[in-house]
Symmetry: C2
Subunit: 453 residues, 2 copies
Amino acid sequence: MTNKVEQQSPHHVVIVGGGFGGLHAALSLGDAPVKVTLIDKRNFHLFQPLLYQVATGGLSPAEISSPLRSILNKQQNTTVLMGEVQDVDPHQQKIFLNKGEINYDTLIVATGVSHHYFGNEQWAPTAPGLKTVEDALEMRRRIFMAFEAAEKEHDVEKRRAWLTFVIVGGGPTGVELAGAISELAYSTLKRDFRNINTAETRIVLVEGMDRVLPPYSPDLSAKAEESLVKLGVEVQTKALVTNIEDNIVTVRQGEEIQKIEARTVLWAAGVKASVMGTILAGHTGAELDRVGRVMVEQDLSIKGYPQIFVLGDLANFTKPDGKPLAGVAPVATQEGKYVADLIVKRLEGKTSPAFEYDDVGSLSVIGRHSAVADFGKVKMSGFFAWLIWVFVHIYYLIEFDNKLVVFIQWTWSYFTRKRGARLITGDESLGQIGVDEKGDYFISPKIKVSAKV
Amino acid sequence: MTNKVEQQSPHHVVIVGGGFGGLHAALSLGDAPVKVTLIDKRNFHLFQPLLYQVATGGLSPAEISSPLRSILNKQQNTTVLMGEVQDVDPHQQKIFLNKGEINYDTLIVATGVSHHYFGNEQWAPTAPGLKTVEDALEMRRRIFMAFEAAEKEHDVEKRRAWLTFVIVGGGPTGVELAGAISELAYSTLKRDFRNINTAETRIVLVEGMDRVLPPYSPDLSAKAEESLVKLGVEVQTKALVTNIEDNIVTVRQGEEIQKIEARTVLWAAGVKASVMGTILAGHTGAELDRVGRVMVEQDLSIKGYPQIFVLGDLANFTKPDGKPLAGVAPVATQEGKYVADLIVKRLEGKTSPAFEYDDVGSLSVIGRHSAVADFGKVKMSGFFAWLIWVFVHIYYLIEFDNKLVVFIQWTWSYFTRKRGARLITGDESLGQIGVDEKGDYFISPKIKVSAKV
């Protein structure tokens, strides 16, 4: 009898979040004797490492997104649900949606992080960040709109402000954005304007630490900075943004205070865990780190709650050396696969060893020809690293959704230096250059951004 | 002296609108001894005949758009300006932007039409139309969201309403939308859901005239209807929508009143000229037709204003047989080329014959395998007409911007029946399925649409 009931209701794994971690957990459970429900706010998986390409007009959102339903439609044991989890009851083993609740036997939470302004939330409308497709389209709108406004502006000072781009944060996203904007300004758009010379564009990358790409070794950081300077990017390290107001970015470098007049400010400086971290902590007493990530056990579960796992960017998995794993796609992917495997083993009465990250190396791209790669013993930079970067990214894109078309698009763009996805979209008011009371041009900031404010 | 001044200030042609008409006028003036300024609200040319593909997740906006600047950047005599014309002074030969004014020697106005609800503007939030990229993304959001909501809904009646799509208007746009939604529901999405059977989707096409595709011959209309019925579309002709309220579409067919419960209503029923028509009429006394299009002379100029031309969808050019030319891309394109040629001839002191449209035929697509084509003497329908449709559209896309990638994407989609651009985007509130006071699911309508209300 008991056996029969068990057959009718297989072990139910509920996965919240369809990013790299959640999706790979679901995929790895495809043949397992469990029922899987994957819940995501959006109906698509986003290949976030290429989001900066959308922000700079190189790719369209659909080219780096795949419908979750179509990725998982062959898995008969898997249901995809579009919805937002409002709360969790770890004692009754339930999650709550805006309507209805779902019981779980095992819960996997992988809702990631959002960008964050750390006490300077008033900067959000002026300095958009880059986490969602909407964020990327907003950046794209501002970048291309700035060139349009510069073309219209006759005053030299004001025009210079439109042609000044400040990127806050010298991590991978900041470096990618700076490189792509340099490509745009100094190459793609060169012949497109009549009143401005886009080669006069000023691109400033501001980083608080003493070097760009701080997670990399100092020599790779130096190579990256060299590549950026070659691309025409002004790199300011040990530099803190202390204010963003009235189109002026105030930067403090030691004792020196600098005021940069810039109409476009892009935020690539910090992230904060999604709200699921706080919800979980509230109910389970789990510890959070300073950006709100959940401190997890060596098997990625929450202490005292072996049936709840947290993974990907939302988890702080501290390695034996005391350092947390980075918030990158390969970590989330491996974590997702690990937890899927652990669940299957557990159902078979077996135990799993602690999670161990198999370091596949780090890659960061800088413009059209250059990248840095750190494969542990082997470190490289320049064109060859860039080639590896391209092939790794294409490989992963094709793995999910046969996005061969992106590869063709890229090859084409590489040789023609074109960027096809340059259209400025948004509501009618967002798509226009306005004139304020003083008679100056302005573009309406889109207030709603994905940042946690 | 006079001669010198003339050399310094060549004849200035100002073109308002970068659609097929305006863009082809600009392109044809590339080598002419004139200065050209092309003004458009948007920074891209939109290949509108494929907009329904964006609305149904088949293509991304960038794949049917080309930046106006990059199309025209080789023409040294041409300036592109992003802006909206607020007013015209035909006596001083000036146009006014939100800041500044521009003098013209010749003015070409080609600002097109928008969709329109003819006195039922309250239907706009419920029944979006299809003219801009934003409109298409809004339709896409609603279509895919409806399936998501149906998957969540347990009540049979309510679920049926989510799976009912009413398309108002049986012209080319309505037929294209109905065919594409049928493809989605009965093929692409078939395996993607667990709680609903997308094959139960009901697609109703409502047309006021006695047949679909009224501009075509009755036998082609009959073939089109046959194809639609084969695709599972319910075609209702001589049927008028009399109300759209509380998710119920009221349709009157003769004496019979029908109430269709549908959560998705798409508007493909009528257009109205853009506001430039009214502005021009106000200053020049030009006559407007009942949808606000400017009645033009046989050389496309405004009566009494030989230096102002109106073309494309905004113009009503009445053929010697008393019928106006249709608002389609080939007409606008030929008109643009004609006016460019006329301007050059006029500068040389020559005159031009009246504009004559060289009828290249009409093509309308119905789903994945079928189309109707009318080439005057030769009329065809079915698969062969569809092949012609595909190649004609690919040819024009490639002509502008080498969008070979679209061709590859299409070939791929045709064989895999996939639709890659299915992502639901929009602001956070627009991207979610809400729950109202009664506990029913709803999706927030995006209020701002491009329609003239």
